[in-house]
């Protein structure tokens, strides 16, 4: 692997290798000395054009635990707002000798362009590009689910599991990454959203689409339910709104106690965070035993360590 740009097109073999490697990384994180010398001498740049403290900290922790040098570069004035262009930033990072660039950008395709433009020699890790892909989020979701739901998980996928993803599919890079990854790993994915929050073209995705959460719970044996964060402004924009009101959203798509109780007893509840408690997820669901939301955060570091290791440790990166 040279870059990690998305989960679309990722082979099952690579996906399982990433998860297995993440499992070994997670094991090292339970020790007293959690730092490993593996990437000593490598430089990882966190290039964030979009604020996301959570994701940046997670990547930073991952790189530091592997002894890489970390440079945080927050380029607020992206070329979208007529600041420094992505190209000039990339050339700067190249000159600084970045071995890997972790990029977060509001423009879909920014990571792909960075990797293929010839502006940069190092590896590119996509930490979220527009509404396109967020592969490490999907990997940590899959890792978390595999740990919880699959016996003796090493070397295995998510075969036979059913995941429901509920919410704003249209604007979600997390959904796009999870759909590809989970289906590659053998799971069935059910998307639950009103048609206004589904992209035209979703019919060609390898998923089931249901418009009401209650129908999804009735019709499928769900092993995992992933609640997406809902942007309030998407419901209050007048003629631009995708939904009449937050209250109606909660009524139709919110995960509350009664809906949670109708899930199979082993089913887990996931959320990529940050949560809107009381909107898409009720406190009793977020804080229940089924909730793996805190584990997701912890696993994020292990998954990002695995990605950095697999991209940077081998000879290709040298």
């Amino acid at each position: 692997m040279k870059h990690l740009l998305g989960t679309d097109g990722m082979s099952r073999e690579d996906a399982v290798l990433l998860l297995d490697t993440a499992a070994q990384m997670a094991a090292t994180q339970e020790r007293e000395v959690r730092k490993l010398p593996t990437l000593r001498g490598k430089t990882v740049v966190n290039l964030f054009f979009e604020d996301s403290t959570r994701t940046r900290i997670s990547f930073e922790a991952a790189a530091k635990r592997l002894s890489a040098d970390v440079i945080n570069f927050s380029a607020k004035g992206s070329s979208v707002s007529k600041g420094e262009s992505l190209k000039d930033t990339a050339l700067t990072l190249q000159a600084m000798g970045a071995d890997a660039v972790v990029i977060r950008h509001s423009a879909s395709g920014a990571a792909y362009q960075l990797a293929h433009s010839g502006w940069l020699r190092g590896s590119v890790l996509n930490a979220g590009d527009g509404t396109h892909q967020h592969p490490t989020q999907a990997l940590l979701d899959a890792f978390t689910a595999r740990r919880r739901l699959v016996d003796d998980p090493e070397g295995k996928g998510l075969d036979g599991l059913t995941l429901a993803i509920v919410g704003d599919v249209l604007h979600s890079r997390v959904v796009r990454s999870n759909v590809s990854l989970w289906t590659t790993l053998g799971a069935k994915v059910v998307l639950v959203a009103p048609p206004t929050l589904l992209p035209v073209g979703v019919s060609t995705w390898p998923v089931e689409v249901v418009h009401r959460l209650d129908h999804a719970i009735d019709r499928f044996d769900l092993d995992a339910v992933m609640m997406l964060r809902v942007q309030r402004e998407r419901m209050t924009g007048g003629g631009d709104a995708f939904f009449p009101s937050p209250e109606e959203y909660t009524r139709l798509y919110g995960l509350d106690r009664s809906r949670m109780d109708r899930l199979p007893s082993h089913a887990i509840v996931m959320h990529p965070g940050p949560m809107n408690r009381g909107l898409e997820i009720a406190a009793e669901a977020a804080d229940s035993d089924r909730s793996v939301i805190v584990e997701q955060v912890a696993n994020g570091v292990a998954v990002r360590m695995a990605a950095l290791y697999l991209l940077l440790a081998g000879e290709e990166a040298a």
Partner: protein, 434 residues
Amino acid sequence: MSRPIVITNVSLYGEETADLVIADGAITSLSAADAPADAVTVDGSGLVALPGLVDLHTHLREPGREDSETIETGSRAAAKGGFTAVHAMANTTPVADTAGVVEQVYSRGKEIGLVDVYPVGAVTVGLAGEHLSEMGAMADSRARVRVFSDDGKPVADPVLMRRALEYAKTFGGVVVQHAQEPRLTEGAQMHEGIVSAELGLAGWPAVAEESIIARDVLLAGHVGGRYHVQHVSTEGSVDIIRWAKSRGIDVTAEATPHHLLLTDENARGYDPRFKVNPPLRPQRDVDAVRAGLEDGTLDIVATDHAPHPTEDKDCEWAAAAFGMIGLETAVGVLQKVMVDTGRLTWRDVARVLSETPARIGRVDEEHGRPLAVGEPANVTLIDPADAWTVERDGFASRSSNSPYIGMELPGRAVATFLRGTPTYYSARFQEVAQ
């Protein structure tokens, strides 16, 4: 005046072989035997002669964005592409919405003299879509404007469109529409469909084009104005125009080379050279545009030559400008898609790239004339066997934002004559330099 030129053994319209004798700016004979003694003779075997090409849709960018194109570099690109006339779109800075600006563009075109530059006048002041511009003043100016367009933006207000259609009748003008429903395309980045869903790029739905065309043809039918649709890109648009024509509505329409060849699949690499407005569509739409051009529903091919400097394309897709250059590749693309596939003859190419656009633009006294004795010598020579690979550094245009870089095209213009003067010639025609 240039020396007389004789082009021997050239195929007129891809049909009968003749010699073209050009003297004093006109075609004086179709037989080399009649050539004046001082004439330069060149061998035209294997070449196709067409009336000089006419582009109804060119962005020359001057005044205002001389960093992307000037009237001079754009004229050179046009001549190299085989064009003898271009209609320069009004979205310059300042906007071509007054007699002063259109006369300036017109005179600068004359001064350069490589192609006839016919300025397009804006439909509304500042392209703002609020007040009609002074079409009459532009029509009566030295530039004799007959084509009006807010291109780059639609005339979205139905009342304004109705008034423009009515008012333009006063001086035989045509209202040319960039059909795009603005509310349905806010933030749009590419065709809305399977590919946009995967790439996470905001969609530009086909209906945003079709709904405007449907509304406009009904308005044109109602008030009787002359209406032309730019860059038709969807199957639905072709159907609506076909229907309108069947009802006798005075509508004409254009296809661009890129909507005839490329699809939304080209966006997959996030290369902004493929970002254009209206966007590249799926194959089904491309097929419909080809069929529309073949059966005459779409009257002409126009380039929508839209130069942009490197920095406006060397960036994230969402930040990149819409548009691609097309003057120098139009002949090759049209040959590849329509001629080599047997869907159009070279005679048809003369119609869609010269005669009909000249008529729509009301420049048919000078351009799109028959290749016949006594006619102005506006002639394009095409070598349909001169296959070439499009190269970034090979353009006469100031910009190089071409989607065809690296692609092989089957043929191209090898010489262009404007009123008998060679405005472009390839190495093979060195002798015509004088």
